[in-house]
Structure formats: C-alpha cells, structure tokens
Symmetry: C2
C-alpha cells in the first residue's frame, strides 16, 4: 500500500503548505469539464446514478447488515429514488468498527495518508455520479451539486487530512534523553512515542451537504487512526453510500479490513443516532444539523469528543454602498443560491431606517429594499438561470415555512417567493426568497432561525444599531457568516472588531462573482467555534489535535 | 514591553525546538545552588517566607477584594502559617478579569510571550522562597519542594507557552487569495485572520502540587490571550499567591491591567469553586484534584473548555528482574517519595504468585515482597534521609488512611508505616509506605485509589494476568504511570502494546536515580488524556489548540 503514499505525497504536502499560507489552492478541479474528468464522465455519471435507482445498493459482504435493507429517499426534484441500503444496528456497526480498528491503528502515518488520498482520488474521479447523487438527495442544482458535493468537499477532506498529518508527524517516534548529573555519568533514556487513536468515530451527516459537511470529520478521524461510522441523514444516503463504497474498495485493495469505514442508515421512524452517539465505545462524534439535536449531543455524550456545526443567524449590515446595483446583485444571488438552504446564507439584513449613502447619492430604506428585491426578481426572472441557482428544497417543512412566510403579517412582504418554470423537473419543490421588512424591535421574529428562503430587511435607528444587532445576534444565537457594506474604513474596522468578538467570518463589500455563502478550503475557516453556531472549525488544529493521544514508553540505555 | 520578548526569545524558541525533539532540556536550573541562584538566595528565601508568617499577604490595590481577608493554612510539618489573603467573590473576580482581558487580548503574540517569560524568570529568581512556601503547604521535603515547586514547574509553564506560541504563530495575519477565472480576471481577495481568546479562564489548584499542576493551564490560557483566575486549594494558597503577585508586578510594569491574573481564595467551609466554574463567563477550566470533583466539572460546565488531571491506579508489573537489589531499591524510593502523594506514585504491584526469574535465579513471591520491604526499611532507616524523602503528609485524612491500613485485615501486612525521627519538625505528620499483600481476586480493594503511602503487592496467576490486571485497571479506572520489570523483550513489547492501549506512560526496568514518578518537561507527556485519570496532557497540541479561535475578515482587492 506504500505506492498510494508515493502517488499522493506531493498533493498532501502542498495541502500542508497551503493551509499555512491560506492562499488559493484546490487539489480537485471544480469545473465539470470533459477535458479534466474525461469525455464520457458526465454521461457515465448520470448512467451510474440511473442504474442505481429502484435497486439495492451493493456493499461488499464484510459490511455489517443485521437489519436487512433500508432506504426511502425522495428527490426534491420530484421522484422516488427507491434505493435500499444494507442496514445494521449500532451494536453490529460498532463491533465491526472496533475489530477493523486494530489493524488500522497500526499503520504508519504515510500508509494511512496514502490510503485516504487514494480514496479521495477515486471519489474525485466519480464526481459526476456524486453530483447526481447530491442533486437528487439535497435538491442542489447540478452545477452546485457537482462543486459543493464533489471537488469542494474533497478539498475539505484533504484539508482535514493535512491538518492531522501535520501535527502527528511533528511528534517523534523516539527520543534520546540524556540528563547531566554533574560529576556522575548522565542518565540516558531511550523514549518512544506511539500515536494512539481515540477509537470508533461517528460522523452524523445532514440532508443538505451530505459530503461537504461529513468528509472533514470523517477524514480527520481516519487520519488519526480512528475508524469511521458514517451515519447518513435518512433523506440523503446515496452520496455517503457511494463515498463509503469507494473507501472500502481502496481499503480492501490495501489489504485492510474495509470495516474501517462503515455506513449507518436508518429511517425517520426508527432512528439509530442516539443509540450510536451514547454508546460507550464511540469516542468521537462529528455532527452537522439542527441546533437542538447538536446541543443535545454536546451535552449527552460525555464519553466522546464532540464536534458540531449547528445553525445561526447570518446577517448583512448595510451602512453605505459604493455601487448599489453591484451590491444588490451580489446579495440577491446569496439569498437565492440553493434557496437559502446553506448554513452560510444571510437571514437578517440590517439597514438604517433613514436610508444610506451611496456613490450615486442618498437612498431611502425602501430604495435599498427595492434594489434588493428587484435584483432577486431579475436574477430569477429567466427560468433556466433561476432553476440553476435555486435548485429545489430538500425538506417539505422548509418549503411549507417559506409558503407560510408569504402570507405572514408580522412585517411588510417586500417580495413573495418566486417559482420558476421547470421543464426538466415539473414536480420540483422550488421557492425563491421571501423578503420581509421588519422593525429592529421585532427580535422575537428575526432572532429565530428560519432555515430556507426567508430573509428579513430590518429597519434600524442607524448603522451602529445595525452592527450591534447583527453582532449580538451572532454572539447569543450563533452565526457563521456576515457581510458588511460600507464605504467608511472606520466602520469596517468597527465591524471587524464586533464580528471578531462574536466569532463570525466577515466579508466586506462583496460584489461580482464571490459570495458571502462561499467558504474556500485551505483559506477560509468555516465556523469559528466561538459562538453557538458550532463548537468546531472546518478545519483548524483544534479540530484534529484531540482525535489521537500519545502513549509513551521509556527505558534506561 | 517589547524588551521582555527580546530578552527571552532565545529561551522561547529553544523550548519550541525541544518540545519537538523531546530531548533533555531545562530552562530553569533544578539545583538549589548558590552559584546559580546567588550566595544569599537560600537565606533570603527563608527570610521572605518567615516574614510572611502571621501576616497579611499584600497584593496591589487593583486586586478585587470584596470578601476581606481569608486564609487558614497549616504546615504539614506542624505549625499554623496564619497568613491572610485578599479574598474576592466570583462576581468580582470575573468582572475584573473580563475588564483586564480587553487589552490583554490585543497584545501581539510576542508581547504576551515576552511578559509571560519575564513572569517565569521572576518566579525562578524567587525559587527559594517558593520552595519554603511549597514545603509548608504541601508537605514536600525541601529538596523536592524546590525542584517540583520551582524549576520543574517553571519548565512546565514554559512548555505550555511554547506549545501555544508555536501553533498560534503558524496562522498568518493576512493572506492574499487569488482564484483564477479562466479567461476572465481572477478573483482577488485580501483576507485577515485574528486570533481571539476564549475569555476568562480558571485554574483550580491542588494541595500537593500547587505550582507544577497549575502553571501549565494558567500559562497556556494566558499565552492564548485569555485572562486567568488562579483558584487555590484552601490548604495551599501561598505558592499561588506568590506566583500571582509576581505576575501582577510584571503586568503592571508593562502597562497592562494586572487583573489579567487574579487570585481566588476560599476556605473549606465556604468554597467558591462551583460558583466560579459554572459562571457563564468562564470559558476555560483547568483542574487538578480528586476524580469525583473533576468528573463533576467535566459534566457540569458546558460553557467552558475543561482540562482535567484526576486520579488513577498506577501500577508496577514484575515479570522477571535482572538485578533485584537495584530494582527493589528503585521501587522503594518511588513508593516512599513524598509519602506516595504524587499522582504518579505506584499503588498496585502485580507479581506472579509462583515467583519470578532473576539473573541470580528464581525468587518466590515472598522473596520479591521481602526485597521491596527491606529496601524501604533500609531507605527510611536513616532519619535524615527518610525525612528528606518522605516529607510530610498534606491532608490529615491521608494520614488517617495510612494509619488505618496498618491495622487492616484484608491482606497480609508486609510492612507497616515507618515514622522517622524528626528533630527539625517534631510535629510533622509523617508516614512511610504501608505494604499489603493481596490476591488478584481482591479487586474491590486494589481497584480503589488509596491516595498516600499505601501500596499492594498482588499475587497473580502469572505474568500475563499481572499485565492484564494492570492494564485493565488503568483503562477502567485511570492511571498516569506504570512500570514494568522484565528481562524478556517480547514481554516488554506486550506491555508496551497493553499500556499504550490503556493510555498509560510506561517505564521499563528502571534502576538507579530515575523513577517512575518523575515526568520531565519537554520530553515526557504527563497524563495521556486517554483514560479516566484525566482528559488532557501536560502538554501537547490538543492542550492549547482550543484555548483560542480564529476570526476572519475578507475583502475584494
């Protein structure tokens, strides 16, 4: 298996270098291009996906399977996947995982890194099949499903491997310790240090980003010598199942027990997650999902290291704007992309009630609101483009919430949800952003997370109050991203201070083809771990450093 | 304050280097030598200590002090210290700490590192006074109090600073991110990364190692920009108070609010620790002490990062011995040193019931037992030497437990506790090890921690059972150290595997002047964090990586 390391070592070491410079880099090309992925890649990926529909998903015979076959996924684009997956109980999964862990823990760092990068390389080669799988479980439009579910997720996995490899390889296998004793002979000891894994890890995936949010914890744990139980959301199993299958193929080729990586599936009426996370042998848990269950895990799995990404109140603060058309176009895209189902989508847009300055003169609050709603309407006015941006809505409850928001009476409806014509998927569950005007006093409404395509334009006394409300909302309720528009350098500085204290990643004056929702591997720290939106960052040193321990032995020489 | 960094940077960078090579190094000389510490250092240190007795301990006026003066320390060597310390409520301490944190967080890494190393340098210069303070609160004999309470503790503090500085300085302050866009202009962003502290930290000291066990958490938190509330054990306040006083002097000289470091004292009838650790503004807790309270903190302070060192069942496994006199002499010292009050003292000695092989032939179980008890009796037979090794017993309850063990009937008493004559301190609370023979079946007795000078010789079916019992005891109940004696390379390997899995630091075939109890800064990882003896290691990357977070800001260029 050492050839895997040889094959991928340059990629690994480049990743280690770039996570320190935090410059732009990507190991896996984000363009769904024939030149890169092969002439037939798109066609083959679609065919592989279609062949899977109405079929049983095959994993090798070693995979635990005491619960038969399970699965009831529905594409948000309007059809049943009807795929059944090998299902196993927590007991069977953990037993298989523990057994496989014995040999996995004994591999060298290079052996493990080589295998993991080979897995990523195979996943990358299957990016078109993955794009279909992600699209038809999450509702992401194809282009986004390809990028976020494919290369971007693979980059985040590689980043996690790089962080873990980097700090583990800093610890010497042996040390010679020679302590002077004055006139006497020195005391000489030979010390050896062994990196020991925590044990079994469980990664709990979400229904909207089943690869991007699951790979970092999974690959970080694996690099540190732990085994991984990949617990999928019952609505988005296929992307994880493909990943697990490819991982197991590489493990088996390397002569390793493939149960180092196992798939855990359940249905919404018979969930197994609580049984998994509270099992005494589960030592690491990575969770992405809603805040209530994430907080429950943080407080109810004391036997495990717990890493969470939950939800929050992302915001935009508009103090002044250079070019409103450029800014509102950028904001419109951020609110529309994947119908607001990103953990980085802005919900609350704070605007001074007396309006703002722009390079073209003063704009009233209503002018600003109109600039945003007009931009959204234009962006989504052309059906093909709208479908490509909005995708479909994963969860019927999210859709219902958006529909209900169209009719609510707490504030003025500035824009109701648009539904583009969709010739390809007539039954797609789709909805553009609902935009509602609120007053700063209506905290009870805007300080509750409304996951999906609902955003508020909040009229504030002034820009200082806007900033204060955005920062305090983040601090108290969590937030992952925030955007600020201001032509004043001192206001930007004030915002940097406020959002640093609140632990939110800030984007300033974004226009053009870069959006507050986007978080780039190797460069952007995703989630600060410093507010209630999550206790961990994808990825940093803290994310990996406690997934292994050091056991020492020393002898006199 | 930049001159502090200039003065100490070579020391800091040497520490960073050595924590990676894990070779022998010490920044602060462990010899209580006049040549090193000055002709009058010993005399001055004693005078400073004596001047403090029956007096109020003075901290500057800025220190919170809403609870008046408190303190009721008694020297285990038999007299009241009668020192009163400025006392403050959790509310007052946290308010002062938060306020001071505002400016502390803004300092550069070099500024903070310079100040912290200057504090350590001042503490080092006061090592003789510290030795008296540690001796007369913990009961450590002078030589040990000097080393463990002084230079060794200072080295551990420096190590923690080095770990924190190293990973923090890896994160760039800014990055230029340029993403190609095919034929179009690249997207160029300027990103900035700010290291943000968690906030207020609390370090909870123990009564036996009030500096060695408190400095690492305190200095790690401070290096990461947090403030530190130093909560002392009510029986061992003075060493922490001297440390806090020196820290505050350096902070004030540097123009920093001295409340970055504050002292928290209480009495056993009015404890404040729970109020401190559950306060919503306390974000980091370092704890050393008994397992029950440590586990309570782990489970009841969800708002904080919690790092614990608790208790466990350290062991020795004797499979075979080359030179029994050398081995038993080494073991005798380990059991006797500080009357078994170290978290690294062996409690359970597992020996095959049919005896063992040595280079001088077979020895029966009773022969091995006798070799150990005779070595202890010889070691403690000379009063001056015995007093220098045993010191005194910190807690009356520990003493009572040892006395009760002398009379117990669960197993054969192989040696009762020796009390050396003590001319200097006639009222010292002293007791040598009680050695009791048990059978391997008597787990209910030996799998309970008996803190202090009580050790068991446990008759096992064979060496494999001895190893299995030692390792499973560590895994299930925690352990920090273990020692193995064997002439067989394959048994040593088997032990290395078993204790690595149990997360215990192993010492093999120790003889001469190096002991299983000793843990050297920069080289030995103290506590693995992988068994119930504690969740953290002094020190490793995991110990520091989550004491700060990263806040990012990005702008288009």
């Amino acid at each position: 298996m050492s050839e895997f390391y040889t094959k991928h070592q340059a990629t690994l070491h480049k990743a280690i270098e770039v996570k320190k410079t935090r410059e732009y880099w990507s190991a896996y090309p984000e363009m769904p291009s024939r030149k890169i992925y092969g002439e037939d890649a798109a066609k083959d990926g679609l065919a592989a996906f279609e062949a899977q529909l109405n079929n049983d998903f095959k994993l090798d015979n070693k995979h635990p399977n005491d619960l038969g076959l399970l699965g009831a996924e529905t594409s948000p684009f309007g059809f049943e996947l009807n795929i059944k997956y090998p299902a196993a109980s927590p007991t069977a999964l953990i037993a298989a995982s523990k057994e496989a862990g014995k040999s996995w823990a004994k591999l060298s760092l290079n052996q493990r890194a080589g295998i993991l990068l080979e897995i990523l390389s195979r996943i990358n080669a299957n990016s078109f099949e993955m794009a279909q799988a992600v699209m038809h479980t999450t509702g992401q439009a194809f282009a986004m499903a390809f990028q976020a579910g494919g290369p971007h997720a693979q980059d985040r996995a590689l980043e996690a491997v790089a962080y873990a490899y980097d700090i583990m390889s800093e610890i010497p296998a042996t040390a010679s310790w020679v302590k002077p004793q004055g006139k006497h002979d020195p005391i000489k000891m030979q010390k050896s240090f062994r990196l020991i894994p925590r044990g079994v890890s469980v990664v709990i995936g979400c229904s909207t980003f089943p690869t991007w949010n699951s790979y970092p914890g999974m690959f970080a744990s694996l690099m540190c010598g732990n085994t991984s139980i990949v617990k999928t959301h019952s609505g988005a199993i296929l992307p994880a199942a493909i990943s697990v299958k490819l991982a197991r193929e590489v493990l088996a080729e390397a002569g390793i027990d493939p149960n180092v990586v196992v798939l855990a599936v359940d249905t919404s009426d018979a969930p197994i997650t609580k049984g998994l996370v509270q099992h005494e042998d589960v030592k690491i848990i990575d969770y992405t999902g809603n805040s209530a269950f994430g907080t429950w895990i943080e407080n109810n799995a004391p036997q495990a290291q717990v890493y969470t990404e939950k939800a929050g109140l992302n915001s935009i603060v508009i103090e002044s704007v250079d070019n409103m058309r450029a800014a509102s176009g950028n904001i419109a895209f951020s609110l529309s992309l994947y119908s607001g189902q990103m953990c980085t989508t802005p919900q609350n847009i704070f605007i001074p009630k007396d309006g703002i300055e722009t390079s073209d003169g003063h704009m009233s609050f209503d002018d600003v609101a109109k600039a945003i709603t007009v931009s959204i309407s234009k962006l989504l006015g052309e059906p093909a483009r709208a479908n490509g941006i909005l995708g479909a809505i994963q969860n019927p409850a999210t859709y219902e919430r958006a529909m209900a928001a169209n009719d609510q009476t707490d504030g003025d409806i500035m824009l109701t949800s648009l539904k583009p014509e969709n010739q390809e998927f007539a039954d797609a569950r789709q909805a553009g952003p609902v935009i509602i005007k609120l007053d700063a006093s209506q905290k009870d409404i805007y300080e509750t997370e409304k996951f999906g395509p609902i955003s508020y334009l909040i009229a504030c006394d002034d820009a200082d109050q806007a900033l204060e409300l955005a920062a305090s909302g983040a601090k108290n309720h969590g937030a992952i991203t925030t955007a600020v528009y201001s032509m004043k350098a001192d206001f930007i500085e004030q915002a940097e201070d406020a959002f640093a204290e609140a632990g939110v990643a800030l984007s300033c004056n974004l226009v053009g083809n870069i959006f507050v929702n986007q978080s780039a591997a190797f460069s952007d720290y995703h989630v600060s771990g410093a507010n209630p939106a999550g206790n961990a960052c994808l990825a940093d040193t803290a994310y990996v450093a406690n997934r292994f321990r050091v056991a020492a032995s020393r002898k006199l020489v």
